[in-house]
Protein backbone atom coordinates (compact mmCIF):
# COMPACT_ATOMS: atom_id res chain seq x y z
CA UNK A 1 0.00 0.00 0.00
CA UNK A 2 2.84 2.35 0.86
CA UNK A 3 4.43 1.61 -2.52
CA UNK A 4 1.16 2.45 -4.29
CA UNK A 5 1.02 5.72 -2.37
CA UNK A 6 4.55 6.57 -3.45
CA UNK A 7 3.67 5.74 -7.06
CA UNK A 8 0.71 8.11 -6.87
CA UNK A 9 2.83 10.87 -5.35
CA UNK A 10 5.50 10.22 -8.00
CA UNK A 11 2.93 10.75 -10.77
CA UNK A 12 2.06 14.14 -9.29
CA UNK A 13 5.38 15.42 -8.02
CA UNK A 14 7.74 13.56 -10.39
CA UNK A 15 10.41 12.29 -7.98
CA UNK A 16 13.98 12.68 -9.05
CA UNK A 17 15.43 9.58 -10.66
CA UNK A 18 18.73 8.09 -9.59
CA UNK A 19 20.39 5.71 -11.97
CA UNK A 20 21.65 2.27 -11.05
CA UNK A 21 23.51 2.77 -14.30
CA UNK A 22 24.13 -0.31 -16.30
CA UNK A 23 24.35 1.18 -19.78
CA UNK A 24 21.56 0.90 -22.28
CA UNK A 25 20.58 -1.81 -22.95
CA UNK A 26 22.13 -3.63 -20.03
CA UNK A 27 24.91 -6.03 -21.00
CA UNK A 28 24.51 -5.79 -24.75
CA UNK A 29 27.83 -4.92 -26.34
CA UNK A 30 28.87 -6.12 -29.75
CA UNK A 31 31.81 -4.98 -31.86
CA UNK A 32 30.01 -6.06 -35.05
CA UNK A 33 28.70 -2.57 -35.75
CA UNK A 34 32.24 -1.21 -35.60
CA UNK A 35 33.41 -3.92 -37.97
CA UNK A 36 30.63 -3.22 -40.48
CA UNK A 37 31.40 0.51 -40.24
CA UNK A 38 35.09 -0.16 -40.95
CA UNK A 39 34.09 -2.28 -43.97
CA UNK A 40 31.87 0.59 -45.13
CA UNK A 41 34.81 2.99 -45.02
CA UNK A 42 36.79 0.67 -47.30
CA UNK A 43 33.76 0.25 -49.59
CA UNK A 44 33.32 3.99 -49.92
CA UNK A 45 36.98 4.43 -50.86
CA UNK A 46 36.60 1.70 -53.50
CA UNK A 47 33.50 3.43 -54.89
CA UNK A 48 35.34 6.75 -54.96
CA UNK A 49 38.16 5.12 -56.93
CA UNK A 50 35.70 3.52 -59.37
CA UNK A 51 33.90 6.81 -59.89
CA UNK A 52 37.16 8.62 -60.56
CA UNK A 53 38.01 6.03 -63.23
CA UNK A 54 34.61 6.01 -64.94
CA UNK A 55 33.42 9.61 -64.76
CA UNK A 56 35.23 12.88 -65.16
CA UNK A 57 35.03 15.43 -62.34
CA UNK A 58 32.94 17.74 -64.57
CA UNK A 59 30.20 15.14 -65.03
CA UNK A 60 26.99 15.49 -63.09
CA UNK A 61 27.28 11.88 -61.99
CA UNK A 62 30.66 12.57 -60.39
CA UNK A 63 29.49 15.78 -58.73
CA UNK A 64 26.44 14.05 -57.32
CA UNK A 65 28.03 10.80 -56.14
CA UNK A 66 31.49 11.76 -54.88
CA UNK A 67 30.23 14.02 -52.05
CA UNK A 68 27.81 11.28 -51.02
CA UNK A 69 30.58 8.68 -50.81
CA UNK A 70 32.75 11.08 -48.81
CA UNK A 71 29.85 11.85 -46.46
CA UNK A 72 29.15 8.17 -45.79
CA UNK A 73 32.89 7.52 -45.29
CA UNK A 74 32.94 10.35 -42.70
CA UNK A 75 29.92 8.98 -40.86
CA UNK A 76 31.17 5.42 -40.72
CA UNK A 77 34.74 6.28 -39.71
CA UNK A 78 33.25 8.24 -36.80
CA UNK A 79 30.89 5.37 -36.01
CA UNK A 80 33.88 3.02 -35.69
CA UNK A 81 35.44 5.36 -33.14
CA UNK A 82 32.21 5.73 -31.18
CA UNK A 83 31.38 2.01 -31.02
CA UNK A 84 34.91 1.10 -29.89
CA UNK A 85 34.95 3.94 -27.36
CA UNK A 86 31.68 2.74 -25.82
CA UNK A 87 32.79 -0.90 -25.48
CA UNK A 88 36.25 0.12 -24.21
CA UNK A 89 34.92 2.71 -21.76
CA UNK A 90 31.76 0.97 -20.55
CA UNK A 91 32.49 -2.75 -20.79
CA UNK A 92 36.22 -3.29 -20.41
CA UNK A 93 37.33 -3.58 -16.79
CA UNK A 94 40.73 -3.45 -15.09
CA UNK A 95 40.96 -7.26 -15.23
CA UNK A 96 40.69 -7.06 -19.04
CA UNK A 97 43.38 -4.39 -19.22
CA UNK A 98 45.63 -6.55 -17.05
CA UNK A 99 45.08 -9.60 -19.25
CA UNK A 100 45.40 -7.67 -22.55
CA UNK A 101 48.01 -4.93 -22.01
CA UNK A 102 47.85 -4.16 -25.76
CA UNK A 103 44.27 -2.84 -25.32
CA UNK A 104 44.90 0.86 -24.55
CA UNK A 105 47.40 1.16 -27.40
CA UNK A 106 45.08 -0.71 -29.75
CA UNK A 107 42.14 1.56 -28.93
CA UNK A 108 44.31 4.66 -29.37
CA UNK A 109 45.42 3.35 -32.75
CA UNK A 110 41.80 2.78 -33.78
CA UNK A 111 40.97 6.36 -32.82
CA UNK A 112 43.88 7.66 -34.87
CA UNK A 113 43.13 5.48 -37.89
CA UNK A 114 39.47 6.45 -37.69
CA UNK A 115 40.49 10.09 -37.97
CA UNK A 116 42.93 9.32 -40.79
CA UNK A 117 40.16 7.54 -42.65
CA UNK A 118 38.16 10.74 -42.57
CA UNK A 119 41.08 12.97 -43.52
CA UNK A 120 42.32 10.81 -46.39
CA UNK A 121 41.07 8.37 -49.00
CA UNK A 122 43.78 5.80 -48.25
CA UNK A 123 42.55 2.25 -48.68
CA UNK A 124 45.66 1.03 -46.91
CA UNK A 125 44.85 3.01 -43.78
CA UNK A 126 41.19 1.99 -43.92
CA UNK A 127 42.26 -1.66 -44.12
CA UNK A 128 44.59 -1.15 -41.16
CA UNK A 129 41.60 0.31 -39.28
CA UNK A 130 39.61 -2.85 -40.05
CA UNK A 131 42.52 -5.05 -38.92
CA UNK A 132 42.71 -3.21 -35.59
CA UNK A 133 38.94 -3.39 -35.10
CA UNK A 134 39.06 -7.12 -35.83
CA UNK A 135 41.76 -7.58 -33.18
CA UNK A 136 39.61 -5.59 -30.71
CA UNK A 137 36.67 -7.86 -31.57
CA UNK A 138 38.80 -10.95 -30.92
CA UNK A 139 39.78 -9.63 -27.49
CA UNK A 140 36.17 -8.72 -26.70
CA UNK A 141 34.84 -12.19 -27.51
CA UNK A 142 37.73 -13.81 -25.62
CA UNK A 143 36.68 -11.90 -22.50
CA UNK A 144 33.29 -13.57 -22.94
CA UNK A 145 34.89 -17.00 -23.33
CA UNK A 146 33.58 -17.21 -26.91
CA UNK A 147 35.71 -18.55 -29.75
CA UNK A 148 36.00 -16.61 -32.97
CA UNK A 149 36.60 -17.33 -36.61
CA UNK A 150 37.91 -15.13 -39.41
CA UNK A 151 35.92 -15.19 -42.63
CA UNK A 152 35.57 -13.07 -45.72
CA UNK A 153 32.56 -10.77 -45.40
CA UNK A 154 29.81 -12.01 -47.78
CA UNK A 155 29.50 -8.60 -49.39
CA UNK A 156 31.85 -6.01 -50.89
CA UNK A 157 34.55 -5.08 -50.15
CA UNK A 158 34.89 -8.77 -49.21
CA UNK A 159 37.57 -8.24 -46.58
CA UNK A 160 38.14 -10.55 -43.64
CA UNK A 161 36.23 -9.96 -40.42
CA UNK A 162 36.03 -11.71 -37.08
CA UNK A 163 32.81 -13.52 -36.22
CA UNK A 164 31.95 -15.14 -32.87
CA UNK A 165 31.31 -18.89 -33.00
CA UNK A 166 27.93 -19.12 -31.26
Amino acid sequence: MLFKLLESLDRVFKFETVRAHCDIPCGIYDPHQAQVAALSVIRMIDLMEELKNTHGPESIEYQNSMPRYVMVKEEHAELVKREIRVIYGDYMKQEHLDKYPELPGLVHKIMQLGSKSRQTASREQALELLNCVNRFAEIYWETKGIQVKRVKAPYKPGEEIVYPVL
Binding site: F3, D10, H21, C22, C26, G27, D90
Partner: protein, 100 residues
Protein backbone atom coordinates in the same frame (compact mmCIF):
# COMPACT_ATOMS: atom_id res chain seq x y z
CA UNK B 1 20.78 16.04 0.57
CA UNK B 2 19.51 15.95 4.15
CA UNK B 3 16.56 13.78 3.19
CA UNK B 4 15.37 12.84 -0.26
CA UNK B 5 12.97 10.41 -1.89
CA UNK B 6 14.32 9.06 -5.17
CA UNK B 7 13.17 6.58 -7.80
CA UNK B 8 15.56 3.97 -9.13
CA UNK B 9 16.18 3.69 -12.85
CA UNK B 10 18.32 0.84 -14.16
CA UNK B 11 19.30 -2.67 -13.16
CA UNK B 12 22.85 -2.62 -11.92
CA UNK B 13 21.76 -3.16 -8.30
CA UNK B 14 19.25 -5.88 -9.16
CA UNK B 15 17.96 -8.06 -7.59
CA UNK B 16 18.36 -6.09 -4.35
CA UNK B 17 17.10 -2.83 -5.89
CA UNK B 18 14.85 -3.02 -8.92
CA UNK B 19 13.92 -0.52 -11.59
CA UNK B 20 11.01 1.53 -10.26
CA UNK B 21 11.80 1.03 -6.55
CA UNK B 22 11.88 4.08 -4.29
CA UNK B 23 14.62 4.87 -1.79
CA UNK B 24 14.76 7.32 1.09
CA UNK B 25 18.22 8.84 1.13
CA UNK B 26 19.87 10.94 3.81
CA UNK B 27 23.24 12.67 4.23
CA UNK B 28 22.87 12.64 8.04
CA UNK B 29 24.36 9.17 8.69
CA UNK B 30 27.34 10.10 6.49
CA UNK B 31 27.86 13.34 8.41
CA UNK B 32 27.70 11.53 11.75
CA UNK B 33 29.78 8.42 11.06
CA UNK B 34 31.09 8.70 7.50
CA UNK B 35 30.79 6.31 4.54
CA UNK B 36 31.11 2.62 5.37
CA UNK B 37 31.44 -0.54 3.23
CA UNK B 38 27.99 -1.95 2.66
CA UNK B 39 26.35 1.49 2.39
CA UNK B 40 24.27 2.10 -0.70
CA UNK B 41 25.05 5.68 -1.63
CA UNK B 42 23.88 8.29 -4.12
CA UNK B 43 26.46 10.47 -5.83
CA UNK B 44 26.86 12.73 -8.85
CA UNK B 45 29.33 11.36 -11.40
CA UNK B 46 30.68 14.01 -13.82
CA UNK B 47 30.08 11.77 -16.84
CA UNK B 48 27.19 9.53 -15.86
CA UNK B 49 25.07 11.86 -13.75
CA UNK B 50 23.32 10.97 -10.49
CA UNK B 51 24.06 7.33 -9.69
CA UNK B 52 23.35 4.88 -6.89
CA UNK B 53 25.88 2.14 -6.03
CA UNK B 54 27.06 -0.09 -3.22
CA UNK B 55 30.23 0.84 -1.32
CA UNK B 56 32.40 -2.26 -1.63
CA UNK B 57 35.41 -0.96 0.29
CA UNK B 58 37.25 2.15 1.35
CA UNK B 59 40.81 3.10 0.42
CA UNK B 60 43.39 5.81 1.01
CA UNK B 61 42.77 6.00 4.74
CA UNK B 62 39.00 5.97 4.26
CA UNK B 63 38.93 9.00 1.95
CA UNK B 64 38.16 7.09 -1.24
CA UNK B 65 35.39 4.61 -1.95
CA UNK B 66 35.26 1.69 -4.36
CA UNK B 67 31.70 1.49 -5.66
CA UNK B 68 30.09 -1.49 -7.33
CA UNK B 69 26.81 -2.60 -8.81
CA UNK B 70 25.57 -6.14 -8.34
CA UNK B 71 25.76 -7.03 -12.03
CA UNK B 72 28.91 -7.80 -14.00
CA UNK B 73 27.99 -5.17 -16.60
CA UNK B 74 27.48 -2.40 -14.07
CA UNK B 75 29.17 0.94 -14.70
CA UNK B 76 31.06 1.43 -11.44
CA UNK B 77 34.50 1.78 -9.91
CA UNK B 78 35.68 -1.14 -11.99
CA UNK B 79 35.47 1.22 -14.95
CA UNK B 80 35.66 4.73 -13.46
CA UNK B 81 37.93 3.98 -10.48
CA UNK B 82 37.88 5.18 -6.88
CA UNK B 83 35.86 8.24 -5.93
CA UNK B 84 36.29 10.57 -2.93
CA UNK B 85 33.88 9.71 -0.11
CA UNK B 86 32.98 13.41 -0.05
CA UNK B 87 31.09 12.83 -3.32
CA UNK B 88 28.48 10.72 -1.53
CA UNK B 89 25.32 12.86 -1.42
CA UNK B 90 23.46 10.49 0.87
CA UNK B 91 22.98 6.93 2.05
CA UNK B 92 19.88 4.79 1.51
CA UNK B 93 18.07 4.56 4.86
CA UNK B 94 14.81 3.03 3.59
CA UNK B 95 13.89 1.02 0.55
CA UNK B 96 10.37 0.76 -0.88
CA UNK B 97 9.79 -2.01 -3.33
CA UNK B 98 6.77 -3.41 -5.07
CA UNK B 99 5.37 -6.37 -3.20
CA UNK B 100 5.88 -9.53 -5.21
Amino acid sequence: MLLGLLKISGYSLAPAFQEGDYVLVSKLPLLIRGVRPGDVVVFDHPLHGRLIKLVDRLACGGNQMFLIGLNADSIDSRSFGLLPTSMAQGKVIWHFQKSK
